[in-house]
């Protein structure tokens, strides 16, 4: 549109720049990132530690929220520029209310057979629950309603041929609580997340139960969200931010997929996340982060349609407007495709 064109973006590339591509910003700019302390922020952490943001004269500041829904008001008001969130009805509702937040890049999907976000069952339930259909009549804890957790839960039900009535859905907003609830037998299974999965396994609380990619191989779990001001009015910054972020994600992939410089990356992860034990990082199924920032957009649309079908969406809006990957694509073009 006209408005977008009016924003002049300095996207000239020169090898002489500290980054080897885009020129640094003339003025030091602070970008505020909202996090919930999860490992899926790896791209931000690594880019920060490795100086990719510095190269563009960007300074990042992290703030932590209890969950991604709490970030929305802050994102809408411009208090934070970037947030890591999950797709949820609340996100779409907020957009419908005029809070113009954009989904811009991948921040977490399950790797085939190595899901970081998947079901676990109580360690003592292994004899009882062998197949998804054995969950019939069981209590399963899910951390949100009308959000990606719920969506995966429903995918699982569909896959196993069960209906909503067959399984008792237990809403439990805290993943830590799920560990406690499994341990004392309050629930039989839970849709749990790394690194709690690995921790719980090693402590004998629960065991992995199948893998989420069995029934939802292409589920988009977490996304990078951008504030409207940041995406529209500060494209100089957002483009550089995205370039740096993707460099961080690529280092992450190099480390966990190719084993390059793994110690350094794990060191960074122990610094930024609550999991301080480097040896445990060797065992966890890490979050899948696409090196080109690509998302499963069709899956996000499926999720949205499910929330709408369940009556969780109030108000009208155009789904496509919620997704804006132009900056990400431009950044990939500038730093090149990942092999």
């Amino acid at each position: 549109t006209e408005e977008e064109e009016s924003v002049k973006v300095n996207d000239e590339v020169s090898i002489d720049n500290p980054s080897g591509d885009l020129a640094p910003l003339s003025k030091k700019t602070t970008v505020i990132i909202a996090e919930d302390g999860s490992a899926s922020g790896a791209g931000f952490y690594i880019a920060n530690e490795k100086g990719y943001f510095d190269d563009y004269n960007i300074e990042v500041e992290f703030v932590t929220f209890a969950n991604s829904d709490d970030m929305l008001p802050a994102l809408a008001s411009g208090d934070v520029d970037i947030a890591g969130g999950i797709s949820s009805a609340s996100f779409f509702n907020a957009i419908a209310q005029g809070i113009d937040v954009k989904i811009i890049a991948d921040k977490g999907h399950n790797e085939i057979e190595k899901s970081y976000f998947t079901f676990v069952i109580g360690a003592d339930k292994q004899g009882e629950i062998k197949d998804y259909s054995d969950l019939k009549g069981k209590k399963v804890a899910v951390s949100t309603e009308h959000a990606v957790d719920d969506y995966i839960f429903h995918q699982m039900l569909e896959h196993s041929g069960l209906t909503e009535e067959d399984v008792e859905f237990v809403l439990m907003p805290d993943f830590g609580n799920m560990m406690a609830a499994i341990e004392n037998g309050s629930i039989d299974a839970a849709l749990q997340i790394e690194p709690l999965i690995t921790q719980g396994v090693s402590e004998g609380i629960h065991v992995r139960f199948g893998d989420a990619t069995d029934f939802a191989p292409e589920a988009q779990i977490a996304m990078v969200l951008g504030s409207p001001q940041f995406m529209k009015d500060e494209q100089d910054v957002s483009l550089r931010f995205m370039a740096a972020y993707l460099k961080g994600v690529r280092d992450y992939n190099d480390a966990f997929k190719k084993g390059e410089d793994k110690d350094k990356i794990i060191d960074i992860m122990t610094q930024y996340t609550a999991l301080k034990d480097a040896s445990v990082w060797e065992d966890v199924f890490v979050t899948g982060l696409d090196p080109n920032g690509k998302m499963f957009i069709d899956d996000i649309r499926n999720q949205y349609e499910m929330y709408e079908k369940n009556g969780a969406i109030s108000g009208e809006f155009n789904f496509d407007e919620a997704i804006d990957t132009t900056i990400t694509e431009k950044a990939v073009k500038i730093i090149g495709e990942y092999e």
């Binding site: 609340s90 859905f169 237990v170 969780a312």
Partner: protein, 268 residues
């Protein structure tokens, strides 16, 4: 030198003036929340405050009516009231018993009070995981969460109430040969009642403050659940309905307790 005639007329006029003032004050009490709501309505509609985050009162009321007619609200209110009442009782009764024991037996008091003092400042929110481990996710853990936060003010005030009983009443009891049981029932319990009831009043306020936290684990209904799921789903009108309900019940409960106070301590 002032000189006024007709004493009764003078005082009657004075009294009428006072009555008018009293009525004015009652009007102020009614007018104040209404004017606040009107200001809110105006600010919200005129866009001076963000209507996305502060929907105008009329919109909240219409949401309220929608929820009410759908019957959903009644269910949520019922379940929350049950939890609040049960949690309240489960906090108050042991609070009174342990408080009385603390007041009556100095060694017990010295043994228990450091533990009470150490546990009291710990936030309910931080205790949720421990409650969950011990009591599971059922109704019990919600009731226990509320009970836990009600317990402390009651136990502390009951013990303080017993200790603060004027020693002359202890002398009276001793002089008239009260047995241990009679002493507890006729002196310690009624004597500590006024301070104890203050603790219970505080406990009631805290029970309401805790309902959201209590309904954060494994709940599928309740006012607290309504509030935070509405917020999580960014349905702010529904959230405000929940907040107003809490505030309304706070008012009802404090009326109830004041009534109870009048019944239980008619001698005050």
């Amino acid at each position: 030198m002032k000189d006024i005639k007709n004493p009764i007329e003078t005082e009657k006029r004075e009294w009428r003036k006072q009555q008018t003032q009293l009525r004015l004050k009652t009007w102020l009490t009614i007018f104040s929340p209404i004017s606040l709501l009107l200001i809110w309505q105006f600010l919200s509609q005129s866009g001076l405050i963000d209507a996305r985050f502060f929907p105008p009162p009329t919109a909240i009321i219409s949401t309220f009516i929608d929820l009410l007619t759908s019957g959903e609200l009644f269910h949520n209110i019922n379940i929350s009231l049950f939890r609040i009442f049960a949690g309240f009782l489960l906090g108050v009764i042991p609070g009174i018993i342990i408080g009385l024991c603390m007041g009556l037996y100095a060694p017990f008091r010295h043994f228990v009070s450091p533990v009470v003092m150490a546990l009291m400042p710990i936030p309910t929110l931080a205790l949720l995981p421990i409650i969950l481990i011990i009591f599971g996710i059922g109704e019990v853990s919600k009731v226990v969460t509320i009970a836990g936060s009600v317990f402390f003010p009651v136990v502390i005030n009951t013990a303080a109430g017993v200790i603060s009983i004027d020693s002359i009443y202890l002398d009276v009891a001793k002089n008239y040969g009260a047995s241990r049981k009679d002493f507890i029932l006729k002196i310690a319990l009624p004597g500590s009642l006024p301070v104890m009831l203050e603790g219970i009043q505080m406990g009631q306020a805290i029970a309401l403050l805790t309902i959201v936290a209590a309904e954060m684990m494994g709940a599928r209904s309740g006012i607290g659940y309504l509030i935070w799921t509405s917020y999580s789903a960014f349905l702010l009108k529904e959230m405000f309905v929940g907040l107003i309900l809490i505030s309304f019940f706070g008012y009802i409960f404090s009326l109830l307790l004041r009534w109870l106070q009048r019944k239980l301590i008619p001698w005050r």
